[in-house]
Structures are given as C-alpha cells and as structure tokens.
C-alpha cells in the first residue's frame, strides 16, 4: 500500500514536469548580449530594462506567431572574447535565431562572424564603430544607433559652413575618440576642404594633465578646435584650456561632452559657455513615441531612461516586427524581413540601408548657456536639429 502511494506521489510530481516541457518549446526566443557588469554595467542594466519593457509589451499584445516571447540576456563584462563565447552559448545552447546586441563594438567584432555563419542576425543598439559596416558579414549586423561617422559629417558641415581653415583636434585615445577625429578629417578632405589639420592630440584618459598638449594646440594657431572627451577628463581639458586662454578660439564638441557632468567644475562650465560654438549629439527623445516609452519606463523602473535605452527598446521591436513579417522563427527569414522593416520607434523613424545601418538620423546641435535655476548654473541648450542621410 505504502509502495503504491509513493508511486502515485512520484507520478504526480512528474506532472508539472510534463506540462512544463512542451510549454518551453512553445516560446519565441530573443537573445541579447549586453554589458551588465563593470564600468558600463549601470548603462547596460538600464538598456536591459528597456529591452524587458519591450518584451513585456509584445507579450501583452499576444506575443509573436501565437507564442509568448522569451528574453534571454547574456553579459560579456565588456570583454570581446567573452562576448563571442556568450553568443555561441545563445545560438548553440539556447537555440536563438536573432540577438539584440552586442552593446559594445568589441563584442560585435568578435561575435559577428560566428553569428553570421550560423544564420543569426545581430542588431546592436549601441555599437557605433564605423568599421563594423566594412565587414563581410555586415548584412547580418544591424544597428538602431547612429554610426560615429554620421556625427563626424555633421561636424564637418559646421567647419565647411563657417569657412574654418586651421583645424586642431584633441580626442580621447580610444576607438570612439579616434573614430570621430579620423572621420571628421576624412569627410572634410572628401568634400574638398582646403584647410589644414594643424594639430592632433590623442590623450590618455587616465593622465589627468593636458597642459602641454593644449599649449601645442595653441602654438599651432588653429581657428577651430574639436574636442571629443568624456565628462571627468573633459572637465580638466576645458579648465586647463581656460587657464591657457584658449577660450578665444571657437570649439566644437560631440556627444561625449554633452551633459551637466561637465559643469561640476565652474571653470569648465565657464569655458564651455564662452568657447563652444556647437556640439553634436544624437537627438533621441523628439517623438511622441519617445514620451510614451519614457513614461512606461519610469513607471516600471522608477527612473527615467538614459542613453541608448530608446535604441535598445526599438531594437527589440524591430526584431518583433521582423519575426511577424517572416511568419516563422527562422534566422535567414528574420534577417531578410528585418532589412525591409520601417518603424516609428522611440528613437525616431527607423529603416536600414544597404549595410544594414540605420538609414537616417537626427542630430541636435547644442551649446552651453548660463541658467541661474540649474544646480550648476549652466545647462545645454539646443541650437537646431540636423537630419542626415
């Protein structure tokens, strides 16, 4: 009797197991590779939240192809080697047919070839390196963010427009800083610019003293200076530039030196207010779709979305639309459908060009103005919007 009871109990225990297994096979999987630990961790976690929000909305609308959507997130810890390993795991073990990522250009480079061989498309919300479009597998690598060279084009237009002829650059010595510097000079030359690139500084973010570099720039007598910095190093660059009297020359900035982080130090803010002719940045947050997204995000996570949250959210929606359009969960079919997707996303209208990059984007030109109501006494103000194709 006891034995029978035990047997029945064991069988009963197996019931949920039986019920669960087919349900698992009955979801549509969307893989994702972001950086959720380390220096970029906070940013990556916010992006992951944006993706989760999109997945939740998709499921609330009835999922895809009649099935629920399952989101599988992996973390590369900002290491390209780990990124490849995680992409292999997503494809070979989880069996995903499309991946939102990689967040960083490094892991996109390392994981891209493998994913394309396995017929799995990547769609990155934040890898901006222009070189990613020159790879053999670029047809398998989509982006909802804007490439660095588009930003460089906006900057080049300002230089040409104002007739500057002696350009000096001071940029971070990393892919981002170099990309903007190289892109800017290349585009200027291609447009028949007669001017000279009189000084090029690439500095180490960790060596926080740029006096002599700035002095060299001053001695090269530029009529315009382009700076690509992050916040904490930017503060020192601008503060020391003020000490050297470089505020008399017009400066151009970019997305790296946008934001109140640069105004923590009054001299840096004072310098930017005086010297900055214009800076550029990707102009997210202009559409109704963005407001809806931002409100939903804040309601769910208790904080407003930050940089690249909108492009992550959009990337998930692009994938969803592509799966719907493909009509089946197949890597090649999803990729082909993705190429034709047109979507009014939170980050603006999205469509893809022949290298599967975002076909157009809107940038904001900004400057720094005094604002007694702001905590630091300064804020960024919009000059105008520029749409680039």
């Amino acid at each position: 009797m006891r034995k029978k009871l035990l047997l029945i109990m064991a069988l009963l225990l197996m019931v949920p197991l039986l019920a669960w297994t087919p349900a698992k096979a009955d979801t549509i999987k969307i893989g994702s590779l972001l950086t959720t630990t380390g220096d970029l961790g906070p940013m990556g976690n916010r992006m992951a939240n944006a993706a989760r929000l999109a997945i939740e909305e998709i499921n609330a609308q009835g999922g895809l192809l009649g099935k629920n959507v399952e989101f599988i997130l992996e973390n590369d810890n900002c290491e390209p080697a780990k990124g490849l390993e995680r992409i292999k795991k997503l494809i070979d073990i989880n069996g995903v047919k499309v991946i939102v990522g990689a967040m960083i250009s490094g892991s996109s480079f390392s994981g891209g070839p493998y994913a394309s061989r396995k017929n799995v498309a990547l769609i990155s919300p934040s890898a901006t390196a222009a070189k990613l479009s020159e790879q053999r597998w670029t047809k398998w690598f989509f982006r909802t963010c804007l490439r660095d060279d588009l930003q460089a084009k906006v900057l080049a237009d300002i230089v040409l427009d104002k007739g500057f002829s002696r350009l000096a650059t001071i940029v971070l010595d990393n892919t981002y800083g170099q990309g903007l510097e190289i892109g800017l000079v290349k585009i200027l030359k291609a447009q028949g610019w007669k001017g000279k690139h009189v000084a090029a500084v690439r500095y180490d973010q960790k060596k926080k003293d740029y006096l002599t570099q700035l002095q060299q720039i001053k001695d090269s007598k530029p009529d315009v200076i382009f700076a690509s910095t992050y916040a904490d190093d930017g503060i020192i660059v601008f503060k020391q530039a003020l000490d050297l009297g470089l505020d008399k020359i017009p400066w151009l900035g970019c997305d790296g030196n946008y934001g109140s982080g640069l105004f923590k130090e009054p001299k840096s803010a004072q310098f930017m207010e005086k010297a900055f002719l214009a800076g550029t940045r990707s102009a997210g947050g202009l559409t109704k779709a963005y407001d809806t997204f931002a409100r939903a995000y804040k309601d769910k996570f208790g904080e407003p979305p930050e940089v690249y949250c909108d492009t992550t959210y959009d990337a998930v929606w692009v994938v969803a639309e592509a799966i719907k359009k493909a009509g089946k969960y197949d890597g090649k079919a999803i990729r082909d459908a993705m190429e034709t997707i047109k979507l009014d996303g939170a980050s603006g209208p999205i469509s893809f060009n022949e290298t599967c990059d975002r076909a157009s984007g809107t940038f904001e030109l900004w400057k720094v103005a005094k604002d007694p109501t702001a905590k630091t006494g300064y804020r960024n103000v919009r000059i105008k919007l520029v749409t680039i194709h």
Binding site: Y203, K207, T212, Q213, K218, D243, L244
Partner: protein
C-alpha cells in the same frame, strides 16, 4: 611654431610638483631603507584634507597647505611608528617592508574611497591667469613654483644648519656611526616621516587644484615621483631638485616630440618610466655623485 618659453615654464611647473612629492619619498627611502609605496596615499590624503579646509570651510590655499601638511605628517609618523618600526625591529627585510607599504597603501586608498567616494571632486577656487610676454601663467602655478623654491631653501637650511638636519644626514650615511655618536636614530626617522608625509600632502593639494581629486590622485603621479627619487639618488635632496626638473622637462619635451611625430600623447607617462629604467641600468646611484662632498 613651438612656444619654447612656455614649454620651459610648463616643465618648471611639472618639475616643482614632482619635487615636492619626491622629497618625502627620497628621505624616508634613504633613512628607513625601503621604498614606501603608501607615499602615493599620503599625497591623496593630503589632497583631501586640503580640499576640506579650502572648499567646504572656505579658508583658501595657504591654510589648507599648512593644515594638510600637519595632519598628513602625523598620519605618516603614526604609520611608521605603528607598522614599519615594529616590523623593522622584528628583522623585516626590504621586501617585507615594501609589501607592507603596498598593503598600507591599499588600505588607505580604499578607506579614502569609502569615506569620500570615487566621484572626482574639484577645487572651486578660480585662479587668475596672466600673460607675461608670450608666457601664460596662472596664480596657482605661481604659488606652486613659490612653494617649491621656498621648500628647497628651507630644506637646505635645515639639512646644513640645524641639529636635526645634521642628524638626518648622519643617520642616512651611516646609521651605526650615528647611533654611536649619541644620535637618537628613531627620533630622526620619525621626524623624517613626518616631514615627508607632510610634503606629500602639499604636492597632493597642488595636483588636485590643477586637475581633480579622487582616491587615485596620488597613484596617478607616483611613477614620475619614484623616477625623480631614483634619478636624484635615493635619500639625496639636492639630487632630487635636479632630477625633478629633468623629468619635468623630459615629459614636456616628450609631448612636443610625440605630437611632432604624430603619435598619441598617451605615451607621455612612459617617458618617466624610460628614464627610471635607464637610470637603474646605467647609473643606479642616480645623480647623487654630483652632490657628494669630497
């Protein structure tokens, strides 16, 4: 065109900072016979003490230099008394003491981090800039150069004319003989640690006011400071004056050269490192020979 006058002035500014930072290191190294890696944290600690006096308390630069000198000096003295002196008495060798100093440095650095946070802070005081001919200089740099020169004169007077100065020199060149002559070696070493850590604090304040302040402030500049101490000859004050300006000049000329060659100025820090290695290979005693009395 390179503005050479400005390059030399900048070298002087860089050199002044390294000199103030290196004096303490070279003296404690010379007397206690081990390189104190926690010297970097004395620099950071001083910068934070100075920041508190200068900014939240709003007392300005001179009081912040004095307070930071005294407080950090005491911390340095305590560190020696509580950690390194007992270790030495137990027969710890150079390696043991060096590793202990690295450990002390880590403890101090992360304690600073958890007390004041890792977010960089900035001195809010605005220094006026002047143009003297083709040279541009700020009030802060004038202060820095003034302090470096005053320090050199005071240290010279102390070393040559006072009892403690003579005791320091005697202890450095021959501890046994100094002990036999009735010099209280322990007291001499404690005084040296006090002065050394105090001067590190002064360097920290200038570095912080010129750039930013965070728990790695000292670590950011410890390599060139070590290069100055070694090039100048360990324990040799006069050698470090010359060495500080050689390193300052090399770094600034290096930036000019790197830019002329179209290379990244990220390699700037490597210049001090190369000088350090070359000194160790070619002339391990540094510039000390130049200042030895025959």
């Amino acid at each position: 065109m390179v503005n050479w006058a400005q390059v030399f002035v900048n070298s002087g500014i860089t050199g002044s900072l390294y000199l103030i930072g290196a004096v303490g290191l070279t003296l404690t190294y010379g007397l206690s016979k081990f390189p104190n890696f926690a010297h970097a944290e004395f620099i950071t600690l001083g910068a934070f003490f100075g920041y508190i006096v200068a900014e939240p308390l709003g007392l300005g630069l001179p009081p912040s230099l004095i307070v930071a000198f005294l407080v950090t000096g005491l911390v340095g003295l305590l560190c020696y008394r509580v950690i390194f002196q007992p270790l030495s008495k137990k027969g710890a060798t150079l390696i043991h003491l060096m590793v202990a100093s690295i450990a002390l440095g880590l403890v101090l650095r992360y304690s600073i981090g958890s007390i004041w946070g890792w977010e960089p802070l900035y001195f809010k005081t605005s220094w006026p800039s002047f143009d003297i001919g083709i040279i541009r200089i700020t009030g802060l740099w004038i202060w820095l150069i003034f302090v470096a020169i005053t320090l050199s004169i005071i240290m010279h007077l102390i070393l040559v004319h006072t009892r403690i100065g003579k005791a320091i020199r005697a202890t450095k060149s021959n501890p046994e003989l100094a002990l036999a002559s009735g010099i209280n070696i322990n007291r001499v070493i404690l005084v040296t640690w006090f002065i050394g850590a105090g001067l590190a604090a002064v360097a920290g304040i200038f570095r912080a006011a010129n750039t930013q302040i965070w728990p790695m402030t000292g670590w950011d500049i410890i390599l060139p400071i070590f290069a100055v101490a070694i090039l100048g000859g360990i324990g040799n004050f006069y050698g470090s004056i010359v060495a500080a300006f050689i390193i300052g000049l090399a770094e600034n000329l290096g930036v000019v050269a790197l830019m002329t060659l179209g290379l990244s100025t990220s390699y700037r820090i490597a210049i001090a490192f190369i000088i350090l290695i070359l000194t160790l290979i070619i002339r391990p005693e540094g510039l000390a020979m130049l200042f030895r009395r025959s």
